[in-house]
């Protein structure tokens, strides 16, 4: 961060900070949900396709009913997808990586079937307020991200469900014996992720202006990268909603820094991959040192 602000003039300006935050709004909102799923010890890699499908739903709804209708449609579809994921994982006893891998496929196919392979265009400007308008010169999508963070942080800190998430993720067997409703807890984490994906889908088409059939493709990797870079343990139980936001911001900062340093865009994947490996390697080394110290 310091390196970037020294080497690239124009990095640490209010406008640039704003543009970084705007660019990671979708990533951050989705990461907040997946972060909770990871905290329960599960994983969700269907969010990319799910975002695409939600965007198709919310984009279509926006054409006929404006922003409010788009939100209802997007979040509705998202919750539905999350419920199915959660149901199969908890009551179907299928490992979450398989369920969401299957969903990643199935939903991608569904997008193509529903749209017939056509990009959704002609979205009304009125429905794009999230990305196109500013409040006190801050883009509205940043407020949406901040709002989502506050809600998720409150849910994680101050509700029974939030405590159950950590209990289930920390030691599921012990949690079950202690009377924690493990299935319901994990199911709700998937449903919450679905709802956030639906919300993010509206921010997405607001920003992009159209809904292409490959919307959201590959997002799942960046999302999991954000969660892991932020410091949430992939094994569950350790981490916080702040991790998702920090991870997303870090990814945004590095990608933005590359642009300012005139590094070609093809380096993007190298940087994201390197960041993930660096983050997990330092975490592992730190834990090894701590273990040796005691």
């Amino acid at each position: 961060l310091v390196f970037l602000s020294l080497t690239a003039s124009g990095f640490l300006t209010a406008a640039n900070v704003g543009s970084i935050l705007t660019s990671i709004a979708v990533l951050g909102i989705v990461a907040l949900g997946v972060n909770m799923v990871v905290l329960t010890g599960e994983i969700d890699i269907s969010v990319g396709s799910a975002l695409g499908l939600c965007a198709v739903a919310s984009g279509t709804a926006a054409k006929s009913g404006g922003l409010a209708f788009a939100l209802v449609a997007g979040i509705g579809v998202g919750v539905l997808v999350g419920s199915v994921n959660g149901f199969l994982v908890t009551f179907g006893r299928v490992p979450s990586i398989i369920v969401t891998l299957g969903m990643l496929y199935a939903l991608q196919g569904l997008i193509l079937i529903v749209t017939g392979g056509n990009t959704i265009t002609g979205l009304p400007q009125g429905a794009r307020t999230f990305a196109l308008s500013d409040v006190v010169s801050i883009n509205v999508s940043i407020f949406v991200l901040a709002g989502a963070f506050v809600v998720v942080a409150l849910l994680a800190r101050s509700t029974t469900w939030g405590r159950d998430v950590y209990a289930v993720g920390g030691n599921r067997r012990a949690a079950v014996y202690a009377g924690v409703p493990s299935r319901r807890t994990r199911w709700l984490a998937f449903v919450l992720t679905g709802a956030l994906v639906g919300l993010a889908s509206v921010v997405f088409f607001d920003r992009v202006g159209v809904v292409p059939t490959n919307a959201g493709q590959g997002l799942e990797l960046q999302v999991i990268a954000a969660v892991v870079i932020g410091g949430t343990s992939i094994a569950g139980g350790r981490g916080s909603p702040l991790a998702a936001v920090i991870g997303a911001v870090l990814i945004g900062v590095f990608l933005n820094g590359l642009v300012l340093l005139n590094v070609p865009g093809v380096w993007q994947n190298v940087v994201v991959g390197g960041l993930i490996l660096l983050a997990i390697a330092t975490d592992a080394l730190r834990r090894q040192l701590v273990a040796e110290g005691t």
């Binding site: 196919g109 070609p264 190298v270 993930i276 997990i280």
Partner: protein, 318 residues
């Protein structure tokens, strides 16, 4: 346990036959020797990687980086040839890159004790990124005649790479079912602590395993490049999903300890024939992904549901 295993493979074999019969009825051109060989030819790359992935999933791990590594090897071979390296040497370089990619994964997993899911997620991004940087987004498609011939060569009616695949698959089967190395993989997947205490060299086994996957990916990349006579950075995009779907469909448990090469082969061909059959039956290709996703979920649901129902730990795992 062994009988249970065979039972599941039998179920999948019967399912495969049902699918073959249904598609034969739906489409006149499905049931022909040429079509079968063609489907086989097209699934060699997925199949080769799936053999290695079976080993990885047996140990309770996963490798998401295989598609990216395939792209990287294809780009390395293509561009080093274009820049003047003899193609034979370029192929050797490609194999070396595959080995190195696998070894890199292996060291991260074993030395740092990290979950393979996160490690290979990172390298998935890294390898495809390097492939993109090296190629600058363009492709190489002018290869000498003999190289193109390699992936499009037939011995009578049989595609050459199918014979090669059959040999490698037989080897993999023997290694998994009949050698100490194979037994170590099952032991690690079953209970890594128990395996370690019984003297299984866990670290060495895992390093060998992930490196072998890298080599299989490199071989698949060369066959692929030769077959389509083009090397591009998006060659292996999404391939990891096809491979994992095939292995899991073949009865391997994602928790480790359960799975087999015959099962994986059935999984590979099941997916290949469903895709091909849908195409020939005139179903739009957009349905393929949808159908495969559903098949994967339903297959594992049936698998895990019955396994969990039969095991005493079901109450706590649910």
């Amino acid at each position: 346990m062994q009988r249970f295993q065979l039972g599941r493979e039998l179920v999948l074999a019967i399912l495969l036959i049902v699918v073959l019969v249904v598609f034969s009825l739906l489409s006149a051109s499905f049931l022909s020797v040429e079509n079968f060989f063609n489907v086989g030819r097209l699934s060699v790359e997925t199949g080769l990687i799936a053999l290695g992935m079976t080993g990885v999933i047996l140990t309770g791990g996963i490798d998401l980086s295989v598609g990216s590594l395939l792209s990287l090897v294809a780009v390395v071979v293509g561009f080093s040839y274009q820049d003047g390296l003899a193609l034979g040497l370029a192929i050797l370089l490609g194999l070396a890159v595959g080995l190195a990619g696998g070894l890199f994964n292996a060291l991260f997993v074993t030395r740092l004790g990290l979950h393979p899911l996160v490690v290979t997620l990172g390298t998935l991004s890294l390898y495809s990124g390097i492939a993109l940087v090296l190629s600058g987004g363009s492709g190489v498609s002018s290869f000498p005649h003999w190289f193109v011939y390699l992936g499009q060569w037939y011995l009578g009616p049989v595609p050459a790479q199918l014979i090669f695949f059959a040999v490698i698959a037989a080897l993999a089967w023997i290694v998994l079912a009949r050698t100490p190395f194979g037994r170590y993989l099952y032991a690690i997947g079953d209970n890594v602590e128990a395996a370690r205490f019984s003297g299984v060299p866990v670290r060495r086994v895992l390093i060998a395993l992930y490196t072998a996957v890298g080599l299989l990916v490199a071989i698949a990349a060369i066959i692929y490049t030769s077959r389509v006579s083009s090397a591009r950075a998006d060659a292996g995009f999404g391939l990891e999903l096809d491979v994992i779907a095939a292995v899991v469909l073949g009865g391997a448990s994602i928790y480790g300890g359960v799975g087999s090469i015959p099962g994986t082969l059935l999984g590979v061909f099941f997916i290949a024939f469903v895709g091909n059959g849908l195409l020939l039956a005139g179903v739009e290709s957009t349905w393929r992904q949808f159908v495969i996703g559903l098949i994967l979920i339903v297959a594992v649901f049936v698998n895990e549901f019955f396994r969990a129902g039969a095991s005493p730990t079901a109450a706590t795992s649910g």
